[in-house]
Symmetry: C2
Subunit: 262 residues, 2 copies
């Protein structure tokens, strides 16, 4: 992607992720791309005073230069002079920088197909899951929207979860997925990493529903992709390291009353 | 953006939009980009039997080739051999094709900044608005989630709407917005068109809240951008034409009980 090269960032410049500590969150998609590529990066989640770093962007004192736009929310990636936010946007940039999209000459338009797959996974298996415990307001506690949360979760587990897993199963069955466990062009792209993290989070939040789907033999290719990403040598080492945050009060949370079978 | 050129689509090939009839919806963002650029395009919303065209993609009988991935939901854009979905993904492609992003040599990384702005507008001023009338399930009627809808809307109008309008006001105040009414680099990009449509929809759905904000002089640059897009010659002609769909039962709906002042 020549446009990424046009940002004049050297691949030797380390990446810097600005994100909340103590949960995987949307920042996790950025970490997985950097880890799979073996990229050199720092992560505010592991530095003291990191909440102030995040707030500086949200409240507008950062970025303080004349080339980057104000940013609304983390995750935020700094690479040299370039500062970006929005998870799928950062992934689009990293996909080109870290060769996590297919070669553009061999697969014309491939970066758009990968972007489309990542956007759909984030919509259906991350944003919609967050709304299961926060259907009314992100500004209220879960405890203040439990009734609505249960109602939304009942629908999510019954209709939305199988819809999106079914969509990705269909992609994996299609000819464009190619040989092997990946979504597109027979090679690992950042869309596979995004789907891995989404499925991983869903397994944590809805273990009963996922166990039932697996017992019934549903979506075998999606679960095989999850297992295949987990065994990538760099990802495996990362998941076992303290750099991997534990699930807590982020997107994917375990509440017994929301652990429905579907 | 060399990657767009690499799709080997000629700019002379007309674009084809696959979208539901009878509402602006997310397809409207695609239409506005095509209209502003004066591009040649067809739109299923104005063809007989278009619902079958949309369903063919959702149900998987389209795309029937070996190069495009299965697609989850409209809007869908076909350009020559390339078939894409996901609104921000289609806009990313069109931005490069139709010169609705700044020159990459002059503004390195500009396409990522524009993509980030568009994603944030779609998140905060379109997706979150849709959830005001559908907080529990897209599969249920509004009438079956009215109580929850009112509760969500109270929060949206009071906290989320000013948050996102405030964010874009901050972008427009920043140096990177440049001279004139636009978000980035002193020139119209597709992010301006996205923000226009979002503000336009919000004005339709929440006229009391928007009137109050305007009375109080809040977010003047955001409302000036809306007015400036509306006066672009091609957009003005489009908005007055039958190609522009009226608001109905889509993202932006008028329900008296949700028309709160905030």
């Amino acid at each position: 992607m020549a446009s990424a090269a046009a940002t004049k960032q050297s691949k030797d410049v380390p990446y810097h992720l600005v994100y909340w500590p103590g949960l995987p969150g949307r920042g996790e998609h950025i970490r997985l791309a950097l880890e799979e590529a073996g990229a050199s990066y720092t992560d505010t989640a592991h530095t003291e005073g990191c909440i102030a770093d995040v707030l500086a962007f949200i409240q507008g004192s950062q970025p303080s230069d004349d080339i980057n736009t104000p940013l609304c929310a983390p995750p935020i990636l700094r690479h040299g002079d370039l500062i970006l936010n929005q998870t799928p946007n950062i992934l689009l940039y990293l996909g080109a920088q870290l060769n996590l999209v297919p070669d553009a000459d061999q697969y014309p338009g491939g970066q758009y197909r990968v972007n489309g797959l990542a956007l759909t996974a984030l919509d259906g298996l991350s944003n919609e899951v967050h709304d299961c415990h926060h259907p009314i307001s992100v500004g209220l506690y879960y405890e203040d929207q439990k009734v609505e949360g249960l109602r939304r979760t009942e629908d999510y587990v019954k209709t939305r979860l199988p819809k999106f897993l079914g969509y990705f199963e269909r992609v994996l069955e299609s000819k464009v997925s190619g040989d092997g466990p990946w979504l597109y062009a027979g090679q690992l792209t950042y869309a596979d990493l995004v789907l891995f993290q989404c499925v991983d989070g869903v397994k944590f939040m809805f273990p009963k529903a996922v166990a039932k789907l697996q017992r019934e033999g549903k979506f075998p290719r999606v679960f095989a992709l999850h297992a295949a990403v987990k065994e990538r040598p760099r990802i495996k080492a990362y998941l076992e390291s303290p750099r991997r945050q534990q699930y807590s009060n982020g997107i994917y949370r375990y509440y017994e009353e929301l652990d429905l079978e579907g």
